[in-house]
Subunit: 294 residues, 2 copies
């Protein structure tokens, strides 16, 4: 397996899917739809939708059946970034190397574009799987749970509260990482499995792999924020330290953070290798993620 | 039929349902869940969920089958108010006679509580109708369409743009009212019909009734903003005129606005009366709404 070629194949499908499954930029009201597309077209790694496509392929889904779900999960992820960047949240000017949506448009438009991307994720799952209502139902339940007040949004809330005090505990930090980051990565893999008709055991392994992959990803993000520069990151570097934010690096030190990342990677790989099908790509992707932080 | 008693019966069921189907205020993170409940427990007319319950009753649904859908539509409506009140939008301090959510908590918490209410609406529809996946699917598709970028959010976007210039056209004003207000009222009635197993003809009549009821409701709101005081409204009065906002009253004058409201009421009543079952309550509710603006 050529990892770079496989990754590029999946990313390219995601880009095509995003273009296909988002309303055209000139749909009325044009400013809103232009902002939605601006936010989504910012690029980024497309990690979550790639995971959905790759997980579905493990179960023999080689056609485009997983594409609407992959697009829905990227819309959901993008909304969370657009709202997270707003002045009342992280107040960030840069995202993926260019102006954040509220900087390129204005705050109100960014707020509404985020709301619209969140709503569109559910609309897409409801309309793309009309011939498989039980599947549509399972996908929507999975996404709504992962994105809800106990998980994604709950993680963002505790992250915000942790920034306001500068002494978050290890328990609070784990809650944030498990929910702000790992929830959507779990959902991305599980939704791929649901489309492929994975059984309960396989769905459980996908969920475990997503959990550990998500924790790895977040710890590596903390490491990069502490060690890389703005040009490399494509977003403002060192902002965690500047904000007095508790991170794995601040709480445990750089060496221990790297050890945590390695341990979670090991567990993610073990969960992936218990799955049927050719898991080489997903295993390589996991190893690639942890290598970024070395 | 005793209208006041019927209305009170429906509202009381909605309040019970909201309490039952929202996460407890002490669910982690507690501040987020407290803000969600604060926003929802502000009271208000509960117009949309009452319409859902009453529409379902037309088709013989007398048990609590429509309650989760009614709660979902009120969560959706409440999120739109919470975000609409934020400083970057209407920047309002009062809603239903008490502090808006961002005033009672803070902007970031209000933003996330709105996001969480929107997400919860879909989560609830996905989990409450697991034994009827085709129904769950239809309800989610209906709500996501009505709440999406072409309808509710699109209407809010054009409303915002209309405030920035002070010469919105009659066409722009109609787009705003049809989408910002009527979309969710249509969805409320249609979702009730879906739960009751209404046929295509009946769903069409519910949609028409919702459209005209929504337009009536918005015109009456414009009339009240121009004529009532803050204490009566429970929100800041005269803010449309102060913001230089185009309303039916500004565009056509008070007398013509009242005529429009009467014409739309007439059409809503005609559509309702074409439905099976006892439509007396829904007809009386429509007449009550237009009477507010007299």
């Amino acid at each position: 397996m050529n990892f770079a070629a496989e990754l590029s194949r999946h990313v390219s499908r995601v880009e095509t899917g995003l273009n296909l499954h988002l309303p055209a930029a000139d749909t009325r009201p044009a400013r809103l739809h232009a902002a939605m597309r601006y936010a989504v077209e910012g690029g980024g790694k497309r990690l979550r939708p790639v995971l959905t496509l790759a997980a579905a392929e493990l179960f023999g889904v080689t056609d485009d059946a997983a594409l609407p779900a992959a697009v829905a999960i990227e819309c959901l992820h993008t909304y969370s970034l657009v709202h997270d960047d707003l002045p009342c949240m992280d107040d960030d000017d840069l995202r993926r190397g260019r102006a954040t949506t509220h900087r390129a448009f204005d705050e109100a438009t960014a707020l509404l574009a985020g709301d619209a991307l969140l709503t569109h994720a559910f609309a897409l799952l409801a309309t793309a799987y009309t011939d498989r209502p039980a599947l549509a139902h399972a996908l929507i339940a999975e996404l709504a749970e992962a994105a809800g007040s106990r998980r994604l949004i709950g993680g963002q809330m505790e992250d915000l509260q942790a920034e306001q005090k500068s002494d978050a505990t290890a328990d609070e930090l784990e809650f944030i990482h498990l929910n702000k980051t790992a929830a959507m990565i779990e959902a991305a893999l599980v939704m791929g499995g649901l489309i492929g008709g994975a059984n309960e055991d396989a769905l459980g392994s996908l969920r475990l792999a997503g959990r550990d992959l998500g924790l790895t990803f977040q710890i590596v993000d903390d490491i990069l924020d502490a060690t890389a520069d703005t040009a490399t990151l494509g977003k403002t570097a060192g902002k965690d330290a500047k904000a007095g934010k508790t991170t794995y690096v601040k709480l445990h030190g750089l060496a221990a953070a790297r050890e945590f990342a390695a341990a979670h990677t090991h567990r993610a790989v073990a969960a992936l290798e218990s799955l049927p099908g050719d898991t080489a790509f997903l295993v390589a992707l996991t190893r690639e993620l942890v290598a970024r932080g070395k």
